[in-house]
Amino acid sequence: MIAIQTGDVDIGTLITAAKKKGTGAVVVFDGIVRDDEITEMELEAYEEVAVKELEKIGRDATAQFKLLHVDIIHRIGRLTVGENILIIVVSAGHREEAYAGSRYIIEEIKKGVPIWKKELTKDGGRWVPGDHAHGSGKPR
């Protein structure tokens, strides 16, 4: 399942579904709204493009790390402290591939998928600078 959505997901259900034949390891990454003295977080995406890029990242990770299953669910809209932002569930035959595949997916998302976060505070809000704050519009 690859999705950008406002609603949360049941991670337990995803883990169960990820246990495909041959699975020896499931790795779950759960990115959460951290309490950085904020009231809420507002997330925004260029949805049509972001979904396609998430799908490509999932395909690339599957091929590169021999993954058996990939879920990437990125939430948008207004979220409160402690809520899930991004859930990545991968399964593989062995832990090395599962860990590496999960890590690859999150790092690729941070590099270029068009999603933005705004931290809302008592005094207003601030857009979160990306980890890769050098756009220059270079093709992926």
């Binding site: 990115g31 997330l43 925004e44 998928v113 068009p114 519009g137 093709p139």
Partner: protein
């Protein structure tokens, strides 16, 4: 001659309509889903410059003093990234979706 519903006026045969989408901070300053008519031969950069000039803060967020896109700005045409250096010579055509946004911060 076609009728262009949005403007309630006759649409010239050579008129083209494109959609401009700004995101995040740029959206806050300039709005988004801006549908506009453009003349044939209009280039990506000049189109965005025209739209951005409606709000000085929005313009300053996207362009530098020399009228060049800030290095961090990301440009897309129909979902594909284009380089800043190519934008000035990239024409927009009828039905194009143009996107301009700041560095991403998902995850």
């Amino acid at each position: 001659m076609q009728w262009h519903d949005r403007n309630k006026k006759p649409r010239e045969e050579d008129e083209m309509t494109v959609k401009i989408r700004f995101f995040a901070r740029f959206r806050e300053l300039l709005g988004t889903d801006i549908v506009t008519d453009v003349a044939p031969g209009t280039m990506f950069t000049s189109l965005i410059m025209t739209i951005a000039q409606k709000n000085p803060a929005g313009y300053a967020a996207i362009f530098d003093d020399k009228g060049t896109f800030h290095e961090f700005v990301i440009l897309m045409k129909n979902g594909k990234r284009i380089e800043i250096a190519d934008a000035a010579k990239t024409p927009v055509v009828d039905g194009d979706e143009i996107a301009v946004f700041p560095p991403v911060a998902g995850g």
